[in-house]
Symmetry: C2
Subunit: 246 residues, 2 copies
C-alpha cells in the first residue's frame, strides 16, 4: 500500500479549521473529498496540525494510504482540479510506509501578522489583525526571549484539560517590524490549543504596557490562563512549515 | 467651499471598476454614498484613475467639494465606518481650491503581479495572475527598455477610438523576480484604456518566446492592437500611487 504525502496551502477564512466536524465545512473534509474523487477510494487523511477556524496555512502537511497506482505527477493537478480555489495542493510525494504527518513532525512554524495601524487595510484584511496601539518592540522582544525554551505553557492555552502534558519547547520566537506590519514567527516541537494566539495576545499587552514584560515569568509559573493576555484573532495566524527529521 | 482629498485603498475583486455605472456596483458609487452619509450632502467625487473591473488600488486619489465643516481627523474614521471592508480611506486632507485628482496628476504608478508557477496559489489568489510558462527575464527587460519613453501606444489599447491623442510617456517599466513572483512596475504620465494589461500581456508573450523581443519596435510603429499580446487578467493589477507636483 502506498503512503502519499501532501503539502497544502489554504485560505482558512471560510473553514471551521482543519479537522472534520459534523456540521461545518472543514479543510480535511473538502480535501478528503477531492482526493476520493480522483482515486475512487475512501480516504483517511492525517494532517500535521489541527489549525483552528479561520487560521490559514502556507505549508500544512498531510498523508493518506491508498491502493491507487496513479503517479504523483498526475495526482497533483487532478486533486487541485476537484478543490475550490481557497485550497491548493502544492506537492505530492510517495512517503515511507511508517510516515505519519502528525506523529513524525519534529516542529511546526507559525507566523502571526499584525497590522499596527489605526486605519484598517482592505487588500490584506483577511490575513492580518489590525491593532493601532503603540507597541514597544523592546519589551515584546524581551518577553519573547523568556518564553523561548522548555516551559509548561498551561497559562497559554484556552483548554488546558485537553492535554495532560503541557510542557512544550519553543525553539524560536522572533518579532520583526516591516513598515506597519509586525510579524511574530514561532517554532515549537508542539503547540497547545490556542497557544500561538495567546502568546501573541500576551505580547501585544506587554507591547502596549498593560502587562510588564518582567511578569511573563510569573504568568508561566502560576499556570493560570487568566493572567495571560487575550487570544489574538485567528485570521492573523498562518501555519508556515512543518519540519520532519529527513 | 472646501476641497477634500482622499487617499484610498481597495480590493477590486467585487467591483465593476472605479467609475459609476448604471447597473453594477463600483468603487466611486460606494465611496460617494459613504461620504454622503457622513456629510449629509450630495457629493461629486473625482478619481485620479478609472481603474477597470477587478483591478485593485493601494493608492487611488480622489477629491470632492463640500460645505461641511467636519474636520479631516473626524472625516476619516466616519467615512470608513460607512464603507465595506474592501474599501478603506487611508488619508483625508484639505486641498487647494484648484486641485483636481485626475487633471492635476503628473504620473501614475501601477504594479502587475504575476505568479510564475504551474501550481496556483490560494493565499494570494485574488491579487495575482498565475502563469506557468518559463519566462526569459532578459528578453522581457530588453523589450521593456524599448517601451520606456514617449511613444504612440495605439497598439497597446483595446479601445483606441476612445482617445484621440495616444502618445504617452512611460517613465519607468521595471521587472523584478522574487521567488515565484514577477512584479511589473509601470509609471507613466497617463495610460490608455487597458494599456498596462496589454503591455504585460505582450511582455509575457516575449518572455515565453512567442514574440521576439526585437519585434516590440514594429508592434509600436504599426499601431495595430492585433500584433501585441493578449490583455493580462485584471486581478494582477494594482494602482500603487498617483503623483502630483507638490
Amino acid at each position: 500500500m502506498r503512503n502519499i504525502l501532501l503539502l497544502i496551502e489554504y485560505d482558512g477564512t471560510h473553514y471551521a479549521g482543519w479537522q472534520r466536524q459534523k456540521k461545518e465545512k472543514t479543510v480535511q473534509e473538502v480535501l478528503s473529498h477531492a482526493i476520493e474523487q480522483v482515486i475512487q477510494e475512501k480516504v483517511k487523511l492525517y494532517g500535521a496540525s489541527r489549525t483552528d477556524a479561520g487560521v490559514h496555512a502556507f505549508g500544512q502537511v498531510a498523508n493518506f494510504k491508498t491502493h491507487s497506482n496513479i503517479s504523483v505527477d498526475r495526482l497533483l493537478p487532478a486533486i487541485n482540479f476537484y478543490l475550490p480555489p481557497d485550497i491548493t495542493v502544492k506537492k505530492v510525494a510517495d512517503g515511507a510506509e511508517t510516515f505519519h504527518a502528525q506523529f513524525c513532525a519534529k516542529s511546526k512554524v507559525y507566523q502571526y501578522t499584525l497590522f499596527n495601524s489605526w486605519i484598517r487595510t482592505s487588500l490584506n484584511r483577511k490575513f492580518c489583525y489590525v491593532c493601532g496601539f503603540q507597541l514597544c518592540m523592546d519589551k515584546m522582544i524581551a518577553a519573547a526571549k523568556y518564553l523561548t525554551g522548555t516551559h509548561d505553557f498551561t497559562s497559554f492555552t484556552t483548554k488546558a484539560r485537553y492535554e495532560k502534558d503541557r510542557v512544550r519547547t519553543v525553539k524560536r520566537l522572533d518579532i520583526k517590524k516591516e513598515g506597519n506590519y509586525i510579524y511574530f514567527t514561532i517554532e515549537a516541537d508542539g503547540f497547545l490549543y490556542n497557544m500561538v494566539r495567546t502568546i501573541v495576545g500576551t505580547l501585544i499587552e506587554i507591547g502596549r504596557g498593560k502587562i510588564a514584560w518582567e511578569n511573563i515569568k510569573g504568568i508561566l509559573n502560576t499556570k493560570d490562563r487568566k493572567l495571560a493576555g487575550p487570544t489574538a484573532p485567528a485570521k492573523g495566524l498562518c501555519l508556515m512549515e512543518v519540519k520532519y527529521e529527513s
